[in-house]
């Protein structure tokens, strides 16, 4: 009675794929509706310049949100990514402005410094919350302050600037009107998608988010998987710092305030469940685009920045309410 139905179970993700598709199609439709709405009702929305604009603006949030997806999938949260990004940017800013290096060496050193700073902060978040089974909310709240304080201390609360010209060039480079930094972010989405869908590690992250105990009893080192998820999130904060520096050509210790909330919003709007175990990084991509499109479109509409913020807030709440119904529907 079963063999004939087996063929239809072809999609690689074994059902998660189908559900993820259904979830994402809802978000995709919402995004499409938004785009059509703004295209029709505003003059400048669907112009190459504006699209480039949107892509540039969402890049940092997208990079942060990719890492955040890993953490939220295992039922955690990382409130520190905005501060860690600033911390990493300041450390990298110090590195890149060190005298005695050629441009290429300085840039390489800066990228290494930023990503390592992010990785170490993430590693700490992961170990502290997994080892003592503490809520990651609290641990990363602590890290939020540690990293922000660290950034201010190291920089002496001064903005660091005058980076090599090549770095600035990278930040503003375009390929057919698409910012290169956005393509970097997209590459991270792709890698994350592959990890979450096609590797044992990704599968078990979903498993941990759903039922940690079952995964542990099946003999898997749950502790290290959780640490890895937080470390990936830290890594993306470091990468976001590089993008930030390349785009703005400065390292400010007060950069990225509130970025963690935007990243979480992108993940949640993208259909990933805050309680873990359910969601996808493709959803996160769409979530980040929705936030960017909404912000851009509302500005074109002539709404104030304050109104825009209010509307983004409403969208987040609507997204989690929809998620509530989706979860109820799925459990039936």
């Amino acid at each position: 009675m079963t063999t004939d139905t087996l063929k239809s179970a072809a999609p690689a993700r074994e059902g998660l794929s189908l559900r993820v598709l259904m979830q994402n199609s809802g978000i995709g439709l919402a995004l499409l509706a938004l785009i059509i709405f703004f295209s029709v009702t505003t003059e400048h929305f669907l112009t190459p310049n504006n699209i480039t604009n949107i892509l540039t603006q969402i890049t940092i949030n997208l990079v942060l949100a990719v890492g955040m997806t890993f953490v939220i999938l295992i039922g955690g949260i990382d409130l520190s990514v905005g501060s860690v990004m600033a911390f990493a940017a300041v450390v990298a800013g110090k590195a890149i402005t060190m005298p005695g290096f050629g441009d290429a060496e300085a840039i390489a050193l800066a990228i290494f410094a930023a990503t390592m700073t992010g990785v170490l902060c993430g590693l700490f978040n992961g170990i502290a919350s997994a080892f003592w089974s503490l809520p990651s909310f609290i641990i990363t709240l602590g890290m939020l302050n540690i990293a922000r304080g660290g950034a201010l201390q190291i920089s002496g609360a001064q903005t660091i600037y005058s980076f090599p010209f090549a770095f600035e060039e990278f930040g503003s480079a375009m390929v057919y009107g698409v910012p290169v930094v956005f393509l970097v972010a997209l590459l991270f989405v792709l890698i994350a998608w592959f990890i979450l869908n096609f590797t044992v590690f990704g599968r078990l992250l979903y498993g941990i988010g759903n039922n940690e105990e079952a995964v542990r009893l099946a003999g898997h080192p749950v502790f290290w998987y959780k640490v890895a998820a937080f470390t990936i999130c830290g890594l993306t904060a470091g990468v976001a710092a590089v993008v930030y520096m390349a785009r703005l050509n400065i390292s400010s210790p007060i950069a990225g305030i509130g970025f963690e909330l935007n990243a979480i919003a992108a993940v949640i709007i993208g259909g990933t469940s805050l309680s873990g175990g359910r969601g996808s990084v493709i959803g996160t991509l769409l979530g980040a685009i929705i936030i960017g499109v909404l912000a851009n479109g509302l500005i074109l509409y002539g709404l104030s920045d304050f109104m825009r913020q209010m509307i983004t807030g409403v969208v987040i709440i609507v997204a989690v309410i929809l998620d509530y119904y989706r979860a109820r529907f799925a459990s039936k």
Binding site: S8, A9, E14, L18, A218, S331
Partner: protein, 522 residues
């Protein structure tokens, strides 16, 4: 120490007016499950009345009905001549029915006094908390049960378990209790504490309060109770005067007349293989005593572990599997001493563990059948960390075929399956690893009769193939069907071993209730 029982109780039928609380034909269904299927019993003022029966016989359901947790579906309950149908626990308390639950309901961080007054805090004229009055009330309540040496202002979490139990009793008694229900009050108490409790019960009884005493320990029942009502399969079987019955008689009533014995000639078992697993004085962390468990398990053998809830059965399996590593003692695997610091080590040495609670520990409910079946075999369905979905489907498909799993698609979430099929997925998960030793905790809980028989057949086939199986179950017929021998566990100790010809529910229960032990010690 038994307080003098009431004058020999005349039969209830002859003097119904003496009944203080009278239940007739009480029924309660949960969905399709009959929790109570006609319970009749009565309580007299100032008696200590025991409720006994196997796990799931209906005692707890009855207590919950009496204490207003949920209503009953059919039947009548008369309390003091009026129909009794409490709509809420608050209602029940207002009528003077108090329960001291098995699991504690105290607020750990609050003081004893606050806990005792939690239901009705005394207030001053200004509507503020009247601490003085509250402490005075608590003092009175504790004095009433002889806890004169405890400061009512100290927080509950500074107390030992026994004292917490007594505080619960004090709380229950401070209002005008007419019926006090004690649900397994001695489960966590030492012998000395138990004696103290019994003295308190005797004193309560002398005040004219009726005490309902639920216990798995028949010696306690016979020590302090006046009458006993036996439950079986949701029905009240009989109420007897303690003075007119014996522990053996009560056990026989609990099991029922149609004693289910397995057919010894049913099938010849294959010869035993080498020693697969050997426990020497293994002490679980939860075991309060100095003596651990020793047992041998051979390849090709099914050993059953019987015992009441709380006997330490699940804890034993968890210790073997390395989830909660044992406190002391040795574990031999194929004759070699091993130390498992986690499930990973146990799995690596060829052990599988079908856990008791498939929703919490066995399955990832929202994930596909295939993903669940492969959960413990990730290496087999991946190469350098990358999943091979075809291999995974194949693994799940062959596992499903072997276990006669009924499903729509392998991509469906496990939560879409029936209980029996969910359990088969848990089995499939472990069988995919070809375990040499399989630990099973309640392997057919919540599984329908048909799937049960299929699971039994699978387990027996595994044993024939040479797998060593250790099965914990609360269902005695299940153990008698499956096992080559049954070890009975009580209070973290093996009370005895039954060979196949000696299998009977009566023998198991005798050991589980420690009847044999006392006989043996004398």
């Amino acid at each position: 120490m038994t307080s003098s029982p009431l004058p020999a109780a005349p039969s209830m039928a002859a003097h119904p007016e003496q009944a203080f609380l009278q239940a007739d034909g009480v029924k309660k269904h949960f969905g399709g499950v009959k929790a109570l299927d006609g319970v009749s019993f009565s309580l007299k003022q100032g008696e200590v009345h025991a409720l006994v029966g196997e796990n799931g016989a209906g005692k707890s359901t009855l207590i919950k009905i009496l204490s207003g947790v949920f209503p009953y579906d059919a039947g009548t309950i008369q309390f003091d001549g009026a129909p009794y149908c409490p709509a809420s626990p608050h209602d029940a308390k207002a009528s003077g029915v108090q329960v001291v639950h098995q699991e504690f309901n105290l607020l750990d961080h609050l003081s004893i006094a606050e806990n005792i007054s939690i239901e009705k805090m005394p207030k001053t004229r200004f509507g503020l908390l009247d601490r003085k009055e509250m402490n005075a009330r608590a003092r009175k309540a504790l004095d009433a049960i002889g806890l004169t040496d405890v400061d009512v202002r100290s927080p509950v979490n500074s107390l030992g378990i026994a004292h917490r139990q007594l505080v619960e009793i004090a709380r229950a008694l401070q209002s005008d209790s007419r019926i006090l229900i004690l649900d397994e009050p001695t489960a966590t108490l030492t012998e000395r504490e138990t004696r103290r409790l019994f003295e308190i019960v005797a004193a309560i009884k002398a005040r004219g309060v009726t005490v309902v005493f639920v216990s798995h320990h028949l010696d306690e029942v016979f020590a302090i109770c006046d009458r006993v009502t036996v439950f079986r399969n949701g029905q009240s079987i009989v109420t007897e005067n303690i003075s007119e019955t014996s522990p053996e008689g009560v056990v026989r009533r609990m099991v029922g007349r149609e004693l289910e014995t397995s057919d010894p000639a049913e099938e010849e078992r294959s010869a035993l293989g080498a020693m697969a697993l050997s426990l020497d004085n293994l002490q679980t962390r939860q075991n309060p005593k100095d003596k651990g468990v020793s047992l041998d398990l051979h390849y090709g053998e099914i050993v059953g572990i019987a015992g009441l809830v709380g006997a330490g059965r699940t804890e034993l399996l968890r210790a073997i599997f390395g989830i909660d590593p044992a406190r002391s003692g040795t574990l031999l695997r194929d004759g070699q001493p091993v130390h498992f610091s986690g499930p990973r080590d146990a799995i690596a040495s060829g052990i599988g563990f079908v856990t008791e609670d498939r929703k919490d520990e066995g399955l990832i409910l929202d994930m596909p059948i295939a993903a669940n079946a492969s959960l413990a075999s990730m290496k087999a369905v991946s190469r350098s960390g990358i999943l091979n979905f075809a291999a995974e489907r194949e693994l799940a498909r062959t596992g499903g075929e072997r276990l006669k799993l009924k499903y729509g698609r392998l991509a469906d979430a496990v939560s879409s399956l029936s209980g029996g099929n969910q359990q088969k997925v848990v089995l499939a998960k472990w069988l995919a690893r070809n375990p040499k030793v399989l630990l099973l905790d309640e392997p057919t809980r919540g599984v329908d009769v048909g799937a049960k028989a299929e699971i039994y057949a699978i387990l027996k086939a595994l044993a024939r193939e040479g797998v060593a199986l250790l099965v914990v179950s609360s269902e005695m017929p299940e153990l008698m069907t499956l096992a080559d021998r049954i070890l009975v566990l009580a209070e973290h100790e093996i009370q005895g071993e039954l060979a196949r010809p000696d299998f009977s529910e009566e023998n198991i229960l005798k050991l589980a209730y420690g009847q044999n032990q006392t006989a043996g010690e004398q």
